[in-house]
């Protein structure tokens, strides 16, 4: 039998991994269209995507809680489709995380796509590569580092989430009780020893993850790779 903290770790990793995958799937086309978009609505979409960076998580959590409740349309639709309530479920915290971590995935990708520009894509088209071919064989390999950054930041930010999950997920072991919530529980119960274990592991885990991103993207490494070739 798993200890409650290990269960929280497992829930956290599952939530963060799923969130990251969903974010890459929907964030990539979104970032692509934002990078290519020239309409004046671009700034509005950019602002919406960036909102979680400045908004208190509890504000987002509050509105999501209302939307996810069976009294409101999104919650109702979900209940009709799945037979389960959306609020206080694992799905709810994944949806919340997707929205909350969106800018961390979309922004690095959008910047990378903007920097790449049209020249190499035009060259690809002139060699007979269609749009999908150009994306997978030109865009993806050249912006690989940005994809790694986007995925890692999205993942790390989701692991560190607290406010949104507290509002819409509550504290159900194995469902919505993630590490940050478990830590809060230990502190409330004055169990500082257990709180320390969780705090240190979150700190160390985040540190290792961030350091690996920076190492992966450092100019020094690129030089070494080049010489290696």
């Amino acid at each position: 039998m798993m200890t409650p903290d290990l269960l929280a770790l497992f829930t956290t990793l599952k939530m963060a991994a799923l969130t990251t995958i969903i974010l890459l799937v929907i964030g990539t086309p979104l970032a692509w269209y934002l990078a290519k978009m020239q309409s004046r609505f671009k700034v509005i979409i950019e602002a919406i995507v960036a909102l979680p960076l400045v908004l208190p998580p509890t504000v987002l959590g509050f509105y999501l809680l209302i939307a996810f409740s069976p009294q409101h349309l999104p919650g109702q639709l979900w209940q009709q489709a799945t037979g389960h309530q959306l609020a206080f479920s694992f799905s709810a915290i994944v949806i919340g995380s997707v929205l909350y971590s969106m800018p961390f995935v979309v922004q690095p990708l959008q910047k990378a796509f903007e920097q790449l520009g049209e020249p190499l894509l035009e060259a690809g088209a002139m060699l007979g590569a269609n749009a999908m071919d150009r994306f997978f064989n030109i865009v993806l390999p050249i912006t690989k580092a940005s994809f790694i950054t986007a995925a890692s930041l999205g993942f790390a930010h989701t692991v560190g989430e607290f406010g949104v999950i507290l509002m819409i997920g509550g504290n159900i072991p194995g469902e919505t009780r993630v590490l940050s919530i478990a830590l809060f529980d230990h502190v409330e119960a004055f169990d500082y020893a257990k709180a320390h274990v969780l705090a240190v592991s979150l700190l160390a885990g985040s540190m290792v993850l961030l350091a690996s991103i920076y190492l992966l993207n450092s100019p020094r490494r690129k030089t070494i790779e080049r010489i290696g070739k």
Partner: protein, 373 residues
């Protein structure tokens, strides 16, 4: 090398209009493409935009572009063939090699996407002299090497038409020369029609069979390379080109032992120029003589160090400001050649030159310019 495809000209008929804020391009022209067709014009004349429209990279083109009876664009029926489906190649000014691939993989990128491969990959590498560069990263290449890879890559996609957008403009003279020679070699080996955009008439003069001239978004001329350049000599716009006599002449000797080569002008006259490379196998030479490099003498200047003096008859005299442009024909036997000469209004008056007058044209061997040697 693979056998050349049927020796039919590629027909490109263009009837398009493109409007930008400060610039309009209106082109109505049928081109019969064989060999290398040059597109000449100054910056802002619309030549690169025309090329991009043919390639399918320009959005908002109004009108039609038809290549051998196939519509590439028809804005009336809203049909637009995407760039990747046009089977047209384009070599850009800035190479645009893929930075995540080495030279070999850049070339393979093109070959892999070619549906019916006829060319032999290794023979193209040999033709473009890329054997020693295949494993190099594109960052390690010089400008000239990058363009050679870009050219090879474009050829390996086996387009039916190759567009070249100022491919030499970022290169030094030596790299330009070697790339121009390569273009001619490719042309000879593969018979691939090329449309070559440049603002350098010197380069175009060396390799093109025909020349299309644009100015301010409109076609101002389309003809064989020499007649077209000669028409431009009369352009009313001051200094549109350096007025010149453009020639293709049979090589008689590469080096006469005194550091000079000779070209056959007609049965009686030869033209001397600095000796050419001894290993050259070319039978004819493209060259040009600037109108400002030729002077006129009323008597044959036999006691001069200037080696070229040709008897000619003045056909036209036109004055623009203080400059006089004279055209004269060397008309002995069947090889009649028109020459263009610039002199000052002062000299014209002093010599009292008139049309139909017989004079001697003189120019130094070094005034006969060629780009490829």
């Amino acid at each position: 090398m693979t056998s050349p495809s049927l020796e039919l000209d590629l027909l490109l008929s263009i009837d398009i209009q493109l409007c930008f804020e400060k610039f309009n391009l209106t082109i109505q022209q049928d081109l019969s493409l064989r060999g290398i067709t040059g597109v000449f014009g100054h910056s802002g004349s619309g030549k690169s935009t025309l090329l991009r429209a043919i390639a399918g990279l320009e959005k908002g083109v109004d009108g039609t572009i038809v290549l051998n009876n196939a519509n590439l664009i028809d804005s009336k029926t809203c049909s637009f063939v995407k760039a990747e489906h046009r089977n047209i190649g384009l070599v850009f000014q800035d190479s645009r090699l893929f930075p995540h691939l080495n030279v070999l993989d850049n070339l393979k990128f093109a070959a892999k996407r070619c549906p019916n491969r006829r060319l032999n990959f290794n023979e193209i590498i040999k033709l473009t002299e890329l054997d020693s560069l295949l494993q190099k990263h594109v960052d390690e290449l010089s400008g000239g090497q990058k363009q050679r890879v870009a050219l090879a890559r474009a050829i390996l996609a086996e387009p039916k038409l190759l567009l070249l957008d100022e491919p030499l403009s970022a290169l030094d003279r030596q790299a330009k020369t070697s790339l121009l020679k390569l273009m001619l070699n490719i042309q000879n080996e593969l018979q691939l029609p090329m449309l070559y955009v440049s603002h350098s008439l010197d380069e175009l003069q060396q390799v093109c069979d025909k020349l299309l001239v644009l100015s301010q978004g409109k076609v101002i001329g389309y003809d064989g390379i020499h007649p077209m350049i000669h028409q431009l000599n009369h352009a009313q716009t001051y200094d549109f080109i350096h007025q010149q006599t453009s020639l293709s002449l049979p090589i008689k000797t590469l080096n006469n032992g005194h550091g000079l080569a000779t070209l056959t002008l007609n049965e009686h006259d030869e033209i001397y120029l600095p000796a050419l490379e001894e290993n050259s196998t070319d039978e004819t030479l493209r060259c040009f003589i600037l109108a400002s490099d030729i002077s006129i003498s009323l008597t044959e200047p036999i006691n001069s160090s200037i080696v070229n003096h040709l008897s000619a008859k003045i056909s036209t005299i036109s004055t623009m400001k203080n400059k006089v442009l004279i055209t004269a024909h060397c008309a002995k036997g069947n090889g009649e050649q028109e020459f263009f000469i610039n002199i000052s209004a002062f000299s014209q008056q002093k010599l009292a030159l008139m049309t139909k007058q017989r004079v001697y044209l003189q120019f130094k061997a070094s005034a006969v310019r060629t780009y490829l040697y």
